[in-house]
Every structure is written in C-alpha cells, then in structure tokens.
C-alpha cells in the first residue's frame, strides 16, 4: 500500500517551501529516514528524510517549484506498485486576504446616544415576556430609564397613573388566610335582625364601666353553641370535630388590618370578666403586643361590624371553623310594632356557615335562636 507523504510544517508556522533538489529519482528505492528531497523554506535549507522505506512513486513538485504545507510531497510504495493521484488531501493553499479596513470610529452623535428609551437588560426581558413595546413606554427612572413598574403599568392600564404598595407581612398573611377559606369553604350567608332595645338598655344600665357590646353578645351566644354544636366545630377530612369548649374570636380593627383575637373559655367567664378580656385584646391588637396565643384557635367568630358603621355583610368564615356571625350597627329605623310604624333599633345579623356540614334549615334555626337570644339580653 503506497504511503502518501504530505509536506509538513517543519519550521514553526511555515506555509510553503521551494524544492531545491530531489535526492531520490522516481522509481528508485529509498531507505527509512534516508534523505529524500532538499527544500528551502523561509527559515532554512534542509533535507527531508523518507518516512517509509520503499520505492519513490511520486514527486509532488519539480525542482525549483513550490510545495505548500499539507500538499502531497511524495508517495513511497512497493517495487512495481502503481499509484494514481487523486486520493491526496487538498493543500491548505493561500488564505484569502483580509477584507480592507472600512472604518474606525463613526463620529455620529446619534449613534453614540442610541435609539429608544434606555432600559436595563432585565427590563428588556420583562418587556419581551409581557409583550410590551419599550419604544412606547416613557421611563420614570433615573435619566429616563424604563423601570420594572413602567413595564408592568404599560401592561395593566395602557398608561394611567398608578401607585404601587407592597403588602405588609400581616396583610399578606390575612390575604393568604382569606383566600384559603374562600377557595375551600362553600359559604352560605343567612340574614336576620334582632330588636336591640334590650341589649342597649342593659349596657346603659350597667354599673361601672359600660361593657363592650361583644361581651353581652358572647354571653348570649355561648349557650346557643352548646345547643347547636355544628357551629362550634371544625371539618377535618371526613370528620366533623365538635368542640366542647368555647373560644370566641372577635374581630378587632388595628393599623395593620382587621385581626381576630380570641376570648378563651368564654363559657366560664362572667360578663365583667368578658368585658375586661375584650378590652385587653382590643388594646393589645392596636398596640401590636398580642402574641400568637391571643390570635389563634377561635372555635366561633363574632364580628362586630357595627363598630365601624356596617350593617349587613357576607363575612368569610375563619379557616378551621364552621361559622361566623357579624353584627351590624343598630341605627334608628322604622319598625312595625302592633301594626304601628314606630322608630326602633335592630341589630342587622349576617351568619355565614360552611354548607358542607350545615344545611339551610339548620342555619335558619340557629339564626332564629340567635335573634331570640339577642333580644333576651338583660331580660
């Protein structure tokens, strides 16, 4: 098998050489490492030895001719062997000259200042993700830079003024909690109203500090929860867990949002005791001094929305319980007594319950009992 010998780069970066003299004629034998041809490169005149013993079958260039690096220089084979060109590697040849320099600095101020509003790469990516055309956005950042808010505003409004506020941790917790209740609990809300005159009279008649309305209401409601245990319970999987203790949540308004504080063991407390505890919780909530023990684990919740002027509502059941009662403000209103329209005061009542465990009839019965109990306060 003939050996094809390509001219190597023998001088650190050479590309070609001139063949000075062939030291072996075509068809003549040559020994291993025996000088085969003398070449002249840019660096040296030197002899190239044969890489194989055999007979010289081909000379890649005539004396005085140029041989390129990687071009076939010689073929060495067996005596009598024939060899046809064509299988050799193409020489590297000359590289095309580099393109001319077409310029250096473009002194065009317009190019240097760029086009379109400046925006950081992260903002460009956001705009791309949201389909916002940055060219149509006016930047509000330093130097007219487009900010993340600018991009988001361009998506949601097409351009009106917006203010963006990050939720407080408390608010984010409330939001998460309410979302979970609303998503998981099928709410039914039933309404009623109760004559407030007895309760109001009882408050007015109280000795010492006027008891909070919540204290009177809790005292009236706790006995009902014994009779209607489904409303003081929690649903765990396939089980309804009835609670024979009464920790009543009350909604308290705080600078951070509406929170539910818990009156523990409400059934065991006197009216005065309930009043003191409710005052403590309300103050603690406002001053952010309540601990986790005061804020968790209500078995039933009472929301006095009347304190902030509300009447009827659609309260959301605290997660982990089955019902919530909101009590609105007892404003003077026309009421009918013995077919006569007179001015009276009634509490608007809104009861939300978990429809998975409490059906409508039970809900109505409980509401009837609530009305009766409220109207019986102090009687």
């Amino acid at each position: 098998m003939a050996f094809e010998f390509e001219f190597p780069d023998i001088g650190e970066g050479l590309t070609e050489a001139i063949v000075v003299k062939w030291l072996i004629d075509l068809g003549e034998p040559v020994g291993l490492d025996e000088p085969l041809v003398e070449v002249e490169t840019d660096k040296a005149v030197t002899e190239i030895p044969a890489p194989r013993a055999g007979v010289l079958l081909y000379q890649g260039a005539a004396e005085g001719g140029t041989i390129l690096v990687d071009q076939l220089l010689a073929v060495i084979g067996e005596p009598g062997e024939s060899w046809q060109p064509g299988g050799g590697t193409e020489p590297a040849g000359e590289e095309a000259p580099a393109a001319p320099i077409v310029g250096t600095l473009s002194e065009d101020a317009d190019i240097l200042t760029g086009s379109g509003p400046p925006a950081l790469p992260r903002i460009r990516k956001l705009a791309g993700d949201l389909g916002v055309d940055l060219a149509a956005v006016t930047g509000s950042g330093p130097g007219g830079r487009v900010t993340e808010d600018d991009v988001r505003a361009a998506v949601s409004t097409g351009g009106g003024p917006l203010e963006r506020r990050r939720l407080s941790p408390t608010r984010r917790a409330i939001a998460e909690h309410l979302t979970k209740s609303w998503r998981e609990i099928p709410h039914v809300v039933t309404y009623g109203s109760a004559d407030a005159s007895a309760a109001l009279a009882a408050r007015a008649a109280a000795e010492g500090d006027t008891p909070p309305l919540e204290a009177l209401l809790i005292a009236a409601l706790v006995p009902l929860l014994r009779d209607y245990p489904e409303f003081n319970a929690t649903l765990q999987g396939d089980d309804l867990v009835l609670k024979h203790f009464y920790d009543i949540g009350i909604a308290v308004d705080t600078p951070d949002g509406l929170m539910v504080a818990v009156v523990r063991d409400a059934a065991d407390r006197t009216l005065d005791d309930l009043g003191n505890e409710i005052r403590r919780l309300a103050a603690g909530a406002r001053e952010r001094t309540l601990g986790a023990a005061d804020l968790r684990g209500a078995t039933f919740t009472l929301s006095n929305i009347g304190a902030v002027g509300g009447r009827y509502g659609t309260p959301i059941i605290p997660y982990g319980t089955t019902a919530i009662l909101s009590v609105g403000r007892a404003d003077p209103e026309p009421v009918v007594i013995d077919d006569e329209v007179v001015v009276g005061r009634r509490f608007p009542l809104s009861l939300a319950y978990d429809h998975r465990v409490i059906d409508g009839a039970l809900g109505r019965r409980f509401m009837g009992a609530v009305v009766h109990a409220v109207e019986s306060i102090g009687v």
Binding site: G13, K43, G103, T104, L105
Partner: protein, 325 residues
C-alpha cells in the same frame, strides 16, 4: 503594490525606519545574520550594519533594560524577544522601569522604545512558545500594547510604534506571520495607535478580536453571512489605549457582541472589553456579551492544542447565542 506576508511587512517597516531615522537600532537574540527566529529582521544587518542590527547575548532582561537606557539617551531601540513565553525575565524591566520612567521623572526622562514579541499558538511549538499573556502587559500602566493581525496594519502600526514617544509593546501573531497576505504600499505610511479597525460592517452582531484570532473571526463572519447574519468585524489593533468609542458605537448599533481572545479566560483582555461595553453600551445590549477565549490552563502542546485555541466554530456558536437571546 506588492502582496506580502505579515513577516515581510514587518521587515519593510523596520528597513524603512533604519533607512530614514539614524537613531533607530534593532537589538535582540539572533536578529543579525540569521534574521531572527522568524526571519523578521532578515537581511537588515547586511544592509544596515552590525552596529544598528545587534545580536545580543541570551538575556531578555538585559535586552529590555539596555533598550531602556538607549531610549533615554535619544535612541529609538526596537528590541525583539523571541517568544512571549521568553519575555518573563524582562517583565521586571517593563513593569518596574520602562513603564514608569516618564511618571517618575515628571516627563524629564522618557523611554520611546518598542519591544516586538511574537505571541500565540497554533504552530505546534514547544512549551512556552505559544503564550498569549498580553493581558499582563495591558494591565501594566504606562505601556502601550499593539497587536497586528494583517500585513497592512503590521507595517503601519510598527512604523507608528517606532515614532511613538512612549514605550510600545508590539505583539506579532506567530501563526499569521506567513498565512495572511495582502497588497500594501511600498512607501512608508502610519496606522495610528489607539484606533480599532472596522473590517466589515454589519448590523446583527459585533465580533471583536485581535491578532491571531482575527483569522478565525473572519472565518466565523463568513459562515454567519452564509446563514444570513451580518456580523460587524472589529480588529482592536491596539489594546492600550483601547478604542472604546469604536466598540461602543458598533455595539450600540448591533446590540450584540462576541469578544474573542486566545489568552487565558480569567482576567483576560476580553473581560476588559466586556466591562467597557457594559459601562458605556449597557442600554443598547440585546443579549449577554459572549467571550470566546482560551482556558485557564497551560497552553497544551502540539497534540492537545486543538482543545485550547478558540476556533471559528466556537465564535459562530457564541454569535448565534447572542442572536437567540
């Protein structure tokens, strides 16, 4: 105009400098009769005499240190170090003396010398013969660093370097010495130091390179063009002082950039180019800037060199990534 190689163009520039300026002299190992290991000074000693083309003992620190003294007296020495990997003994002279004398003496003494150094791999040479440690030189305050990639620039930049009032390190890409040919004027001319060259205009992506890597940058631009991508090709030509204006102008237009360097990756010169672009062209960027570099390894010897030297494949891949970002 004659078509010449980079090696021939450099020889022309040196010949013209010796012929026109009597203060010019060449010194280095084997620069005389043998014409230097790459034959860049071929014939110069014969034409201009052994007093002006001086063979030195084997002492790189001595060559640069002596050139420093020669330059202070008013001579214009052009020193040759045989390979960049042999220049390290001279670094103390470069870093501690050549680069500082103007500042130390408040302009009283200056060292307008040129140190020519072949650099880069791709010829399967021995260890230390394939270094691309130009970042170390560029990092040294007070040195100008010039890298030619083609015959026209090689001649004009070397003439400018010899005329420059400050020390210039003139790097010559070994594997391009004889591989790149171009027609150039046979009259003297200058290519200004500090100006990058835009070799090819394009709107899609800017390819930035210098020295030996330019051959692969050009190949990559050709291949991108076959795929319909118009690459703008910039040859830095001077590393220090860097022509940031040309770079920023181009990247402001294209929004995409690929920087190619054969040197090691960490703290390489491409990192400086990337930093400068993010400072001055960040708001124009449409994609992360790509670096195509050698690795943080010793430059492999002949058989392993293919794993190291950036090639057109890697440049094209990087350019395509910027276009897909």
């Amino acid at each position: 105009m004659p078509e010449v190689t980079i090696a021939q163009a450099l020889n022309m520039a040196l010949d013209e400098a010796l012929a026109t300026d009597p203060t010019v002299l060449i010194l280095g190992e084997d620069v005389g009769a043998t014409g230097g290991v790459f034959r860049i000074t071929d014939g110069l000693q014969h034409r201009h005499g052994a007093e002006r083309v001086v063979d030195t003992p084997v002492a790189e620190s001595g060559i640069v240190g002596a050139a420093f003294g020669l330059a202070i007296t008013g001579m214009r020495p052009v020193a040759e170090i045989q390979f960049l990997g042999f220049a390290y003994p001279a670094y103390d002279q470069l870093v501690s003396h050549v680069s500082r004398i103007r500042n130390r003496s408040r302009h009283r003494f200056t060292a307008p010398l040129v140190v020519r150094i072949p650099y880069g791999g791709g010829i399967g040479a021995a260890e230390h013969h394939s270094e691309s440690s130009e970042a170390i030189l560029a990092h040294t305050p007070g040195l100008k660093v010039v890298v030619a990639s083609r015959p026209y620039d090689a001649k004009g930049l070397l003439a400018a370097a010899i005329a420059d009032p400050d020390p210039v390190i003139f790097l010559e890409p070994i594997r391009s010495y004889r591989a790149v040919k171009e027609e150039i004027p046979d009259q003297p001319y200058l290519v200004p130091i500090g100006e990058a060259g835009i070799e090819r205009e394009g709107s899609d992506v800017t390819l930035v390179g210098y020295g030996a890597a330019m051959r692969d940058v050009r190949r990559a631009a050709d291949r991108l063009a076959e795929g319909g991508v118009a690459a703008e090709v910039i040859d830095l030509r001077t590393l220090v002082p860097l022509d940031a204006a040309t770079l920023v102008s181009s990247v402001t237009k294209t929004g995409r950039a690929v920087i190619v360097q054969e040197g090691h990756r960490t703290a390489g010169f491409a990192a400086e180019v990337v930093a400068r672009l993010q400072e001055d062209a960040l708001y124009s960027l449409l994609a992360p800037i790509e670096r195509v570099t050698g690795w943080d390894t010793v430059v492999p010897l002949r058989r392993g060199e293919q794993h190291y030297i950036p090639d057109a494949d890697r440049i094209v891949a990087a350019a395509r990534r910027t276009l897909e970002a």
